[in-house]
Symmetry: C2
Subunit: 408 residues, 2 copies
């Protein structure tokens, strides 16, 4: 049963995802993807989609229990199988200049914990993931990721299935508590864009993070650009890829990260929880990994692609983050990465490199932009982590101290 207030939040979140997230145009096809457990929100998105003039809303449900059966007892050769119809569907969305809303929020974060981590890591539909990353990096779809509260997700955060409390935290994080959430988002996006612009003006050579267990220098490209909140498809449709979003982010040089970093929040990865992740970099490449749980899933990802162990993203978040202010570890990357600074190994963003768009993977690679079939964010910021921008002349400009943003 969904109480009245949640029903209302469902409809409001769905409208926000359709009107701001993908900024749906009348006549556009809307693809929606989520888990079986997300049905209440996906249904609300279908209603909001048609209300906004969708030509067709095509919902696809993933069932993690069916995947569990595959990993538990399917043939080895099928673990990474992508059914061809998933590619047909993805290509149709691209060809029609469609929109795509992906619903996240893991109702059973420990579901795969009883299985062999290497098999869990291998079961990732590489072909679909690659095609999807290509669609996104080539900006051929107006996309947005949101999250659906479930009792299981609430239990993994609070130790009890307190769905109301989770909906409240999600609603505050995505500004559904504002009288006019759409207007609030416009203002929020403008503030983050201004921050990205001030970083772009400084043209830092590298970013350095220092804190307990962390001393990491991430070298940028000469042509690295910082982005935030909204982006645009090739046909000029503005959209907000993540809701919530609190970050300014860029793509570093794939060979210029050095040092060590300690994750400051747990990470849910392919059904396993990765805790106390520590990673060492040398010449851009991950040379050491340890974690108290889930280490094998991380290792399987790093082994899945020769370019997986190089950075694709660096993102900065300060203490004004709505997500951070809830004080909650959501056990969900979409939220937790927006509470604090983070990096991602794997695929970089061509749109974060001046002139990077339209280049093929080999040309991007030559520039120093990593091309991989994974993109895994993990959180490394917080009040104890100092962040500086390093100029080409070697000057250190404080960006974050005690979670406070210091740059103009």
């Amino acid at each position: 049963m969904v109480p009245a207030v949640e029903g209302d939040l469902l409809e409001r979140y769905a409208r926000l995802a359709v009107e701001v997230g993908v900024n749906l145009r009348p006549g556009q096809t809307l693809e929606v993807n989520g888990l079986v457990e997300h049905a209440p929100l996906i249904r609300a998105i279908a209603r909001a989609g048609y209300a906004a003039g969708a030509r067709y809303v095509d919902a696809r449900y993933v069932d993690e229990h069916v995947k569990h059966a595959l990993v538990a007892s399917g043939p080895d050769a099928s673990l990474d199988f992508t059914p061809p119809w998933l590619l047909t569907r993805l290509e149709a969305t691209g060809a029609e200049q469609g929109a795509r809303i992906t619903v996240s929020g893991d109702p059973e974060p420990e579901l795969f914990a009883d299985l062999d981590g290497r098999r869990v890591g291998a079961a990732r539909m590489t072909e679909l993931v690659q095609a999807s990353l290509r669609l996104v990096t080539e900006r051929r779809v107006a996309w947005s990721i949101i999250a659906c509260p479930t009792e299981g997700w609430a239990r993994s955060i609070f130790g009890e299935p307190d769905l109301d409390r989770l909906w409240d935290a999600v609603a505050r994080s995505v500004r559904l508590d504002e009288p006019d959430p759409v207007a609030a988002w416009m203002e929020h996006a403008a503030r983050l864009s201004a921050r990205a612009e001030s970083l772009n003006e400084r043209r830092f050579d590298a970013i350095r993070l220092r804190g307990p267990g962390t001393d990491l220098t991430v070298g940028l490209l000469e042509r690295s650009r910082w982005g935030a909140a909204a982006t645009e498809t090739v046909w000029g449709q503005r959209h907000v890829p993540n809701m919530p979003t609190e970050e300014v982010f860029t793509t570093p040089h794939k060979l210029r990260t050095d040092g060590h970093v300690r994750s400051t929040r747990p990470l849910v990865l392919q059904g396993a929880i990765v805790r106390d992740l520590e990673v060492t970099f040398a010449g851009g490449r991950i040379t050491g990994v340890s974690a108290s749980t889930g280490e094998d899933v991380v290792r399987a990802q790093l082994d899945s692609d020769p370019n997986a162990p190089f950075l694709g993203e660096l993102a900065l978040v300060d203490g004004t983050s709505r997500v951070g202010q809830t004080g909650i570890t959501f056990m969900n990357t979409l939220f937790d990465e927006n509470a604090t600074c983070h990096i991602a190994f794997g695929q970089g963003f061509p749109e974060c490199v001046e002139g990077g768009e339209g280049l093929d993977p080999a040309e991007l690679e030559a520039l120093g932009v990593n091309d991989a079939s994974v993109h895994t964010d993990f959180m490394i910021g917080g009040p104890d982590v100092d962040v500086d921008g390093l100029t080409a002349a070697g000057e250190a400009v404080p960006l974050l101290r005690g979670d406070e943003w210091l740059l103009g």
Copy 2:
């Protein structure tokens, strides 16, 4: 929460569907289709599928609420849209000589009752339905339809969400209460096959049904064959298309049905409940339709295809039916058609005509086998309905009296 006894029934029903229903072969791909509300059974089918050696289990969930949003406020031109990826998926199953389990059982039979019946009737993915009927009639898939008990379905039958009672009725109907359900099915299928054989030996010219509101003569083809329980794919894989099944069935001549018939049980059709359906036939064609509810949905189906208003199936069921013995009207065609005699307007079965297989639609049509994009069963039998076989010489041979089977 699923109580332990139901959990066990889930696993047993899933195994029966995999091992007897589609009779899965090691290495075969298993396509599973059902509603979001059927997730518990679909998950059990995935487990049973891999346990039986499936190469891959491809589950697709349909969400009737997403369809409701389409019918309520989508564009007219999208009502009958089939997303191309659904055809890719279906063709892959055919090309790979795969198996398909479809899960039925409507959790909300009144869901579409608030909408315009003509729009509800129009929203049926004709292209997919046609391709699927073709796959089945050409015997290019090992398929089986089962049903998943849900609280909503239980409510529509019992007036309360008594899931245990529904599971009990379903379990008895599909022989899960037998110590060895697989062996019980073998015996049951042999008994129905013997009945079909005795009808085939008699080569009746027509079947006549008489009862309250019913006097209907259904003319058969000279080459009509009666079938039952199990059938075979073109590559020789035996499978049981319906579980439960209690019928012997054939395809009549499309132009030789005359008279009138009153439905003896309600019919759930595209989310509407059709009650008190009465149909008049002249020269094989439906010339009159009335119903106290859902008439517009039936009319929309009959209007959807020039061949929809001709019969495709006649089936005989006696009082030994496990389904009939439960005394329950299941509000679900898969069950209710197996409680009593029924007819279906629309698509005929080429395998029910001697030499009919491998013929194209035009050749079948020339023989008198109807070819249509719909196939809608409705129930017309019961203890008050007498059924006779009519020989070419005009002799009437009693087949059913008081629901008792009389033919040797």
